[in-house]
C-alpha cells in the first residue's frame, strides 16, 4: 500500500485534542479504565480516530454505555496483535482479483493493513473537506464520513471505504460483546444492556419460563480461566 498522505501526527493530535475538550483524549497509562489505555499497535493519531469512530457506530445513549466506555478501542488494539490481526485466519494467497460482492473479501490486506492503510487517509480527507481531523469533527460530520465509507463513495489507497467500514463495524461489535478478558465489554456492560448472562451456561431451570425475564446478571470468565486470552495472545488459535 502506498501512503497518499504523510501527516505529521504530533501537531494534528494537539489540534484534535484542543478542538474537542469534552472528549477526553486517551492517557498513557493502564489502570483498567478503558479511557486510560495506551495502545500498542495503533499510534496516537490512529487510536484517536478509532476512539471516536467506534463511538459513532455504537454510541453512549439511553440504552447504556457506548464503545468508548466499553473499551472497544482497547479491544481492537489488542486484537491487532493476535493471529487474527495478522490475517493468519484468512486464505491470503495471491492473486488478488476484484469480483462481485457475493464472492466475498478479495483484498490483499490483513485487519492490521486495513486500519493502518485507511485511517490516515480518512483523516486527510477530513482535513481537506472539513478542515479538522475526524476526531475533532462534530458528530453529524463524523457520521457523514462514516456513511460515505459504508456506501463505498470514499476509497483510499486501494482500500474501498466499505471494506474498512465493515472491518471497523465487525470489530466494534466484537469489542462490545466479547468477554471482558479481551479488553472490551468493560464491566460486562455490553452484556447487561443485551440481557445476556455471560458465562453462566446453565439454564436447566430456565428452558421455558413462559417469557419471564431471566433474573440474573452476567458473569465473566475468571481472568486466568482462558489460556487463549489475553495472556496468550499470540497463541496459534487466536
Amino acid at each position: 500500500m502506498g501512503g497518499a498522505a504523510s501527516l505529521s501526527s504530533t501537531p494534528l493530535l494537539g489540534r484534535a485534542a484542543q478542538a474537542n475538550p469534552d472528549q477526553p483524549a486517551p492517557q498513557p497509562q493502564d489502570d483498567g479504565d478503558p479511557a486510560h489505555y495506551k495502545p500498542t499497535f495503533f499510534n496516537q493519531e490512529e487510536y484517536l480516530f478509532l476512539y471516536h469512530a467506534c463511538e459513532r457506530l455504537f454510541p453512549q445513549d439511553e440504552n447504556g454505555p457506548g464503545a468508548q466506555a466499553l473499551g472497544v478501542p482497547r479491544f481492537i488494539d489488542k486484537q491487532m496483535n493476535t493471529p487474527y490481526g495478522l490475517g493468519a485466519l484468512w486464505y491470503m494467497q495471491a492473486p488478488f482479483v476484484e469480483g462481485p460482492p457475493e464472492l466475498g473479501y478479495q483484498l490483499p490486506y490483513t485487519p492490521r493493513d486495513l486500519y493502518r492503510g485507511a485511517i490516515t487517509p480518512i483523516n486527510t480527507h477530513c482535513l481537506i473537506r472539513y478542515n479538522a481531523l475526524f476526531a475533532a469533527l462534530p458528530p453529524e460530520q463524523q457520521d457523514n464520513v462514516l456513511h460515505a465509507l459504508e456506501s463505498n463513495t470514499l476509497r483510499f489507497n486501494d482500500i474501498p471505504g466499505a471494506a474498512f467500514f465493515e472491518q471497523l463495524r465487525t470489530n466494534t461489535l466484537e469489542g462490545a460483546f466479547s468477554d471482558p478478558a479481551y479488553g472490551g465489554n468493560h464491566n460486562m456492560e455490553g452484556w447487561k444492556m443485551m440481557g445476556f448472562p455471560g458465562a453462566r451456561a446453565d439454564f436447566m431451570d430456565w428452558i421455558n419460563q413462559e417469557g419471564a425475564p431471566y433474573p440474573f446478571g452476567p458473569v465473566g470468565m475468571p481472568p486466568k480461566a482462558n489460556p487463549y486470552s489475553p495472556a496468550f495472545q499470540n497463541d496459534e488459535e487466536g
Binding site: 487474527y84 464472492l103 460483546f177 466479547s178 439454564f203
Partner: protein, 597 residues
C-alpha cells in the same frame, strides 16, 4: 490405540478423516478384526481440553475466531455463481464452516438428527410416479440413492442409539405411539431418549403451528435429554441448554460427537491407530488405476511427506475434501457440464435455508441465549412425501422450525440491521437490544436440487499450501428452489400471525439473487461423489463403493444425489453403517466390485 510415534505397520484399512463417517467406519472395521489407521489433518480434540468450562464457551474464541473450523490459511476453495465467471477464493469463513481436527464437523455441529423420508432416497422415481416425467425441470439432475428407507432403517436406528438421540416417535413397528412427526416413516424402535424440552420460543411455535392446522413435533436431537450410555459404553450427561452447541465442543458430554460417542472405545483398541496432523494429499493407485494402494500424506508435525499402504481405503473427510481428493487423485472421470459426462463433482448441492424473525410484545422475553443445538419444534407439512407438489409447482420441500440453539450477543449484533434498517448508531443499538430480548427466529430449512451447471471441479489458478489446485465451486440458487422457499416462507407468515407477533420479518430467496458466500447459511454441503445405480451418473454404487476403484469407499454427504430438507448427519451416519455392514458381510469375504457396472 496404537501409539502413533511408533511407525505404523501396514494396516488393513486406511481411513481419511476423523469425523462421524470415519469414526463409524473405524469402529465397524476394527470390530470385524481389521487393523485400522485413521489419518486426520488437524489436531486431536477431547472434551477434557477443548470442552473445558469456561474457556470452551467463549464466543469470541469459539464461533467468531472459528477455533474448531477449517484453517483457511492452509487450504480453501474458490467460488463462483455461474460457469462464465472467474471463481474467487473463499478467503474468510462465512457461508459454511467445515471442521478441522479430530471429530471434524461432528465436534462443532448442532445435533439435529433426522432420518430421511422414503421419498428423499428415491426422489426421481417418486417424482415420476406422483407427477410424471415432465414435472422434472430441464437440466435438473434428479436421482435416486439406490437404497431405500426400508433397507436403511436398521442403520438409522443404530446411529440413533450410538448418538443417544432424544426424540419422540409417531409410529413404531406399525403401532401409533406418542406425539412424534406423524409424517415420519415407521420405525423399528423408539428413540433412545425422550424428546428435549421446548424453549419458550419453541413452545409458542408449537401452539401456533397446531392452531394453524399443522403438525408440530420435537426435532430429533443428538443432545441428551437424560444421562445415557450408548452401546459402545460411552457416556453422555444431560443437556442443560447452555446454548453452546454449534461452533463449540460441548462441555457437558451432552451433544453427540465422534469424540464423545465413538472414539473413547476406539482409543482403547490395539487394532486402531490415529495419526493427527496428517494431511492426505493423494490416494495412490496401482498401474491398472482400478486398485488403491494407499495414501500419500503430509506429516505436518515434521513437515515431511510420507506414504502408507493398505488393502482397503475409506475416504471419509468433509464433503468438499472428499470431492477434492478424488479429483487430485485422478479417480473416476471429472464431471463436464457441457457434455454432461463424468461423475466426480456432479450433483453438488447445498441447503435452501432462510431465517425469518418474529417479535413478541415487550413483556415477553425470549431468552435467546438459552438453547440446545438440536432441540426445537418443527413441522413437516411442506416436506413430507404426501405434500402435493403438483399443485405447488416445485420439487422438494422444507421443514419449518424454531430451533433455538443459543444465540450469543456478538452473533446477534452482527446479524441485526440491514435490509433498510440502520446498521449502526443509536437506532441500531436500540433495535439490537430489542431484537435480542423479544424476538426469535423461524427457519425454512429446505431441500436443494442438483443442476447441470452446478458442480465442483479443480480451480485453474489458486492453490493450497501443498501446491495443489484448490476445489472450485460453481453454485447459485435456481428457480425451482427459490419458488419452493418462497412458498414455504409465506406459510411462516400465517403461523406468526397466529402467535400474536408484534412484528414479522419474513425472509425468502428472491429470483435472480445469487448465492452469497459472505453470509452464514449452513454447513450442509452435499454431492460431488454421489451414490446411485448407474456408473454414468454416479461415482459410487449403492454400497458407497467407487465404481472405478473397488477397494475405495467414499462416505459422507458427498454421496447424496441432492440436498434434502433435513440436516444431513443422520443420513451420513446411517449410510456409513449401511456401507460398513455390507463391507463386513460381503466385501471382506470376496473383495471386488459389489455391484457389476
Amino acid at each position: 490405540m496404537t501409539d502413533e510415534t511408533s511407525p505404523p505397520k501396514r494396516p488393513d484399512v486406511l481411513i481419511i478423516g476423523a469425523g462421524w463417517a470415519g469414526s463409524i467406519m473405524a469402529k465397524e472395521l476394527t470390530e470385524a478384526g481389521l487393523t485400522v489407521t485413521m489419518l486426520e489433518r488437524g489436531h486431536d480434540h477431547s472434551t477434557a481440553v477443548e470442552g473445558t468450562y469456561p474457556s470452551s464457551i467463549d464466543e469470541l474464541r469459539g464461533a467468531v475466531r472459528k477455533r474448531l473450523f477449517q484453517k483457511l490459511s492452509r487450504t480453501s476453495l474458490t467460488i463462483r455463481n455461474r460457469p462464465d465467471q472467474t471463481a474467487l477464493p473463499y478467503r474468510q469463513l462465512a457461508a459454511f464452516l467445515p471442521g478441522e481436527g479430530v471429530g471434524g464437523a461432528g465436534l462443532h455441529w448442532s445435533g439435529c438428527h433426522f432420518r430421511a423420508t422414503e421419498d428423499d432416497l428415491r426422489l426421481r422415481s417418486a417424482t415420476i410416479e406422483r407427477y410424471g416425467q415432465k414435472f422434472i425441470p430441464k437440466d435438473m439432475h434428479l436421482q435416486d440413492y439406490g437404497v431405500t428407507y426400508k433397507e436403511l432403517e436398521p442403520f438409522f436406528d443404530k446411529a440413533e442409539k450410538v448418538f443417544g438421540t432424544s426424540g419422540e416417535a409417531a409410529s413404531v413397528r406399525g403401532q401409533k405411539t406418542g406425539k412424534g412427526n406423524i409424517f415420519a416413516p415407521d420405525r423399528s424402535d423408539h428413540f433412545p431418549l425422550p424428546p428435549m424440552a421446548d424453549t419458550f420460543s419453541a413452545s409458542v411455535f408449537r401452539k401456533a403451528a397446531a392452531e394453524t392446522g399443522y403438525h408440530p413435533f420435537s426435532i430429533p436431537a443428538a443432545n441428551a435429554s437424560q444421562p445415557y450410555t450408548n452401546p459402545y459404553g460411552c457416556q453422555m450427561g444431560p443437556c442443560n441448554f447452555c446454548g453452546y452447541c454449534s461452533g463449540y465442543a460441548c462441555y457437558l458430554y451432552s451433544k453427540a460427537s465422534p469424540n464423545v460417542n465413538i472414539l473413547p472405545t476406539l482409543r482403547r483398541d490395539k487394532r486402531f491407530t490415529l495419526i493427527t496432523e496428517a494431511q492426505v494429499l493423494e490416494i495412490m493407485l496401482d498401474d491398472t488405476r482400478k486398485k488403491a494402494t494407499g495414501v500419500r500424506y503430509a506429516d505436518l508435525k515434521i513437515q515431511s511427506e510420507k506414504t502408507l499402504e493398505a488393502d482397503l481405503v475409506i475416504l471419509s473427510a468433509f464433503q468438499l475434501h472428499n470431492v477434492h481428493l478424488m479429483l487430485v487423485s485422478g479417480i473416476g472421470k471429472p464431471y463436464d457440464p457441457v457434455t454432461q459426462t463424468g461423475t466426480i463433482g456432479r450433483n453438488f448441492t447445498y441447503q435452501t435455508i432462510t431465517s425469518s424473525r418474529i417479535w413478541l410484545p415487550k413483556d415477553r422475553f425470549t431468552s435467546q441465549f438459552v438453547g440446545a443445538g438440536g432441540a426445537g419444534v418443527a413441522i413437516d407439512d411442506f416436506n413430507q412425501p404426501g405434500f402435493d407438489r403438483g399443485k405447488a409447482g416445485f420439487i422438494g420441500g422444507s421443514p419449518i422450525w424454531v430451533n433455538q440453539a443459543g444465540l450469543k450477543p456478538i452473533a446477534a449484533a452482527q446479524g441485526s440491521g440491514g435490509k433498510g434498517e440502520p446498521r449502526w448508531g443509536s437506532a441500531y443499538k436500540s433495535a439490537v437490544i430489542d431484537q435480542y430480548r423479544h424476538s426469535f427466529g423461524i427457519d425454512a430449512h429446505g431441500s436443494n436440487m442438483a443442476y447441470r451447471d452446478v458442480y465442483l471441479d479443480l480451480d485453474p489458478t489458486w492453490r493450497n499450501a501443498y501446491g495443489q489446485p484448490m476445489l472450485r465451486m460453481t453454485f447459485t440458487w435456481k428457480d425451482n428452489d427459490i419458488r419452493m422457499n418462497q412458498y414455504v416462507v409465506k406459510h411462516i407468515g400465517d403461523i406468526a400471525q397466529t402467535m400474536g407477533a408484534t412484528r414479522i420479518g419474513l425472509n425468502s430467496l428472491q429470483q435472480g439473487q445469487p448465492f452469497d458466500s459472505r453470509v452464514y447459511q449452513t454447513t450442509h454441503l452435499n454431492g460431488g461423489v454421489i451414490m446411485g445405480e448407474n456408473p454414468k451418473t454416479s461415482a459410487l454404487n449403492r454400497y458407497l463403493q467407487s465404481w472405478d476403484v473397488s477397494n475405495l469407499f467414499v462416505i459422507g454427504s458427498s454421496a447424496f444425489p441432492q440436498g434434502m430438507g433435513y440436516n444431513p448427519t443422520g443420513l451420513v451416519a446411517a449410510l456409513a453403517y449401511w456401507s460398513a455392514y455390507h463391507i463386513r458381510r460381503t466385501y471382506l469375504r470376496n473383495p471386488g466390485p459389489m455391484v457389476s457396472a
